[in-house]
């Protein structure tokens, strides 16, 4: 469970759920690209998304349709707001540090363990950590995250976990790990 090896790329199994999920996401992105609802565009979009989904569904999708359940979408929206708040806070933090003349920084690399096992959830967590106040994901080996922290308050993994990742991870657990 903890040190689960990632499955080689081409040996992943394809499944109908994954296929439909990939197809839907690709079609939404296609709509974003064209921004038009003409029948010809829609038919081409369906066709192209089907072809791409056929070839890449086992690469793209982690867990099929169960991410798109209604209650999970609510969690997604909640996550989005938490993330946006953290992003804005992060930027004022950076602005404060950059502008102040004596550079108030005390950087260091801390580590903490995550409970997430799904690699997609880990990607989301890592990107969120990179974009939130004073932290930058350097690496993830096994289930340990190594994070460069611009203002280290404590070296203890538990404290670091609480300060950096907990608010995101709670919601991500609900989305991906149920």
């Amino acid at each position: 469970m903890t040190n689960k090896k990632s499955i080689p790329l081409l040996k992943r199994k394809s499944s109908p759920g994954k296929f439909i999920y990939t197809f839907l996401i690709m079609f939404i992105i296609w709509l974003g690209f064209t921004t038009s609802f003409e029948p010809a565009e829609l038919i081409t979009g369906v066709f192209v998304s089907l072809i791409i989904a056929l070839f890449t569904d086992r690469i793209f999708s982690c867990c099929g349709m169960r991410v798109l359940m209604p209650h999970k979408i609510i969690y997604f929206i909640q996550y989005f707001f938490v993330f946006i708040m953290a992003l804005i806070k992060a930027n004022f933090d950076v602005a404060r540090r950059v502008i102040s003349p004596d550079l108030p920084i005390n950087p260091g690399i801390v580590k903490f363990k995550t409970k997430l096992t799904n690699s997609f959830a880990r990607l989301v967590l890592a990107n969120s950590i990179t974009l939130t106040p004073g932290t930058l994901t350097i690496d993830a080996i096994g289930n340990t995250f190594y994070v460069h922290w611009i203002d280290v308050t404590s070296e203890e993994p538990e404290v670091a976990y609480k300060e950096i990742a907990e608010s995101f991870e709670k919601i991500l657990m609900k989305i991906y790990e149920d």
Binding site: I29, L31, G32, F33, T35, L87, I88, A90, N91, V94, A95, R97, V98, I99, L103, I105, N106, P107, G108, I109, V110, K111, A126, N127, T130, L131, G134, T135, L136, T137, I138, D139, I141, T144, Y146, H148, I150, V152, E155
Partner: protein
């Protein structure tokens, strides 16, 4: 209604410009690579997102493509800075640290040992 959207859009564009500038300033002022990466990534990502969204509010019929651009920036930019930080650490760029807090060194040594053996 349209005027309100326009004012919000202009405000977003201005904020975005300021943050893009601050990101570049952080790139110059910070003492070592990792802190530069931090300042650069965060500020420039929010700056670009906010500018792009501001333009989207000025032209409501462009909003879908604008949202796609915002999502792509949000996924791709942290990824590149993560790759850069990891590669630099492995090539021996030592982070600037006042109290020598570095939990990553051991893990890298162990991993390299595993790879070579």
């Amino acid at each position: 209604m349209m005027e309100i959207l326009e004012y919000i859009g202009m405000a977003l564009i201005l904020i975005g410009g300021i943050f893009l500038f601050l990101g570049a300033l952080g790139l110059v002022r910070m003492p070592d690579l990792y802190t530069r990466l931090q300042a650069g990534t965060k500020a420039s990502t929010l700056g670009a997102m906010s500018t792009v969204l501001g333009v989207g509010l000025l032209h409501p019929d462009w909003i879908l493509k604008i949202l796609i651009i915002v999502i792509f920036i949000g996924v791709a930019n942290p990824l590149s800075s993560h790759a850069l930080a990891r590669a630099s650490y492995r090539k021996g760029v030592i982070p600037f640290s006042k109290n020598n807090i570095d939990k990553y060194k051991k893990a890298v040594k162990k991993q390299i040992k595993n790879l070579t053996s």
